[in-house]
């Protein structure tokens, strides 16, 4: 099984450009998440979804949008990229019971630089 697959792995954007980070999982997990990781800051939750058609904001949602049209896919959209969005982005998924019962499965990350 592929698990959680993120694309692209690396991307450089200019200020004001837009892009979509793709995330797909093949484990039939209902719960999916987007985190960003900045040096010395741990991971911060951007958005999460508990199932197709349902999304909600995390700690740091400003400047991002998500959609969840299928169980497998959870793309993250950056509109009008800013240098503050330079980060490593991780997508994750978990079993229907949520984190209390299961564990999060992470992709290998997407490193984004905004210049």
């Amino acid at each position: 099984n592929a698990g959680v697959t993120q694309t692209p792995k690396f991307r450089i954007l200019k200020i004001g450009q837009s892009m979509t980070l793709q995330c797909a999982q093949d484990m039939n997990h209902n719960y999916m998440y987007w985190y960003r990781q900045d040096p010395g800051m741990g991971l911060k939750l951007i958005y999460y979804s508990v199932g197709a058609g349902i999304t909600d904001k995390g700690e740091v949602p400003n400047g991002y949008n998500v959609s969840r049209s299928t169980t497998e896919d959870f793309p993250l959209r950056l509109e009008l990229a800013a240098p503050s969005q330079t980060s490593v982005y991780f997508c994750a998924s978990s079993y229907p019971q949520g984190v209390g019962a299961g564990e999060l499965f992470f992709g290998e990350g997407s490193r984004l630089t905004v210049l």
């Binding site: 959680v4 719960y31 998440y33 985190y35 010395g40 800051m41 741990g42 991971l43 911060k44 939750l45 999460y48 508990v50 995390g58 991780f90 994750a92 978990s94 019971q97 949520g98 984190v99 209390g100 019962a101 564990e103 999060l104 992470f106 992709g107 290998e108 990350g109």
Partner: protein, 115 residues
């Protein structure tokens, strides 16, 4: 509000010596606690989790952690470090009661293992 504090940003040990990575938590309810490991340029992987069962939790690769409510601590230990243990380690607490799947990450501890 839930929070975790990792007391050391960097720990250095010699191969074959014990490992201790310290974590304190704050929670307004009985928490779920986790340790995740991140090897360079990789996603995060669950080491172990505590969900109100046994207070001494055993994880993968010989790691274990003890939940101490009186001290609000969840320190990670391993009797003998191996070179492959060199990585970033994150202490994590569930963000809310129930199965929302939201996590709060500590800032991380970098473990260096010297030959």
């Amino acid at each position: 509000a839930q929070s975790v504090t990792q007391l050391d940003s960097h720990v250095s040990v010699s191969e074959g010596t014990p490992v201790l990575l310290r974590c304190n938590y704050s929670s307004s309810y009985s928490p779920s606690l986790f340790w995740y490991v991140q090897h360079p340029n990789k996603g995060l992987q669950l080491l172990l989790k505590y969900t109100s069962a046994a207070t001494l939790v055993k994880g993968i690769n010989g790691f274990e952690a003890e939940f101490k409510k009186s001290e609000t601590s969840f320190h990670l230990t391993k009797p003998s470090a191996h070179m492959s243990d060199a990585a970033e380690y994150f202490c994590v607490v569930s963000a809310s009661a129930g199965n929302t799947g939201k996590l709060i990450f500590g800032q991380g501890t970098t473990l260096q293992v010297k030959p």
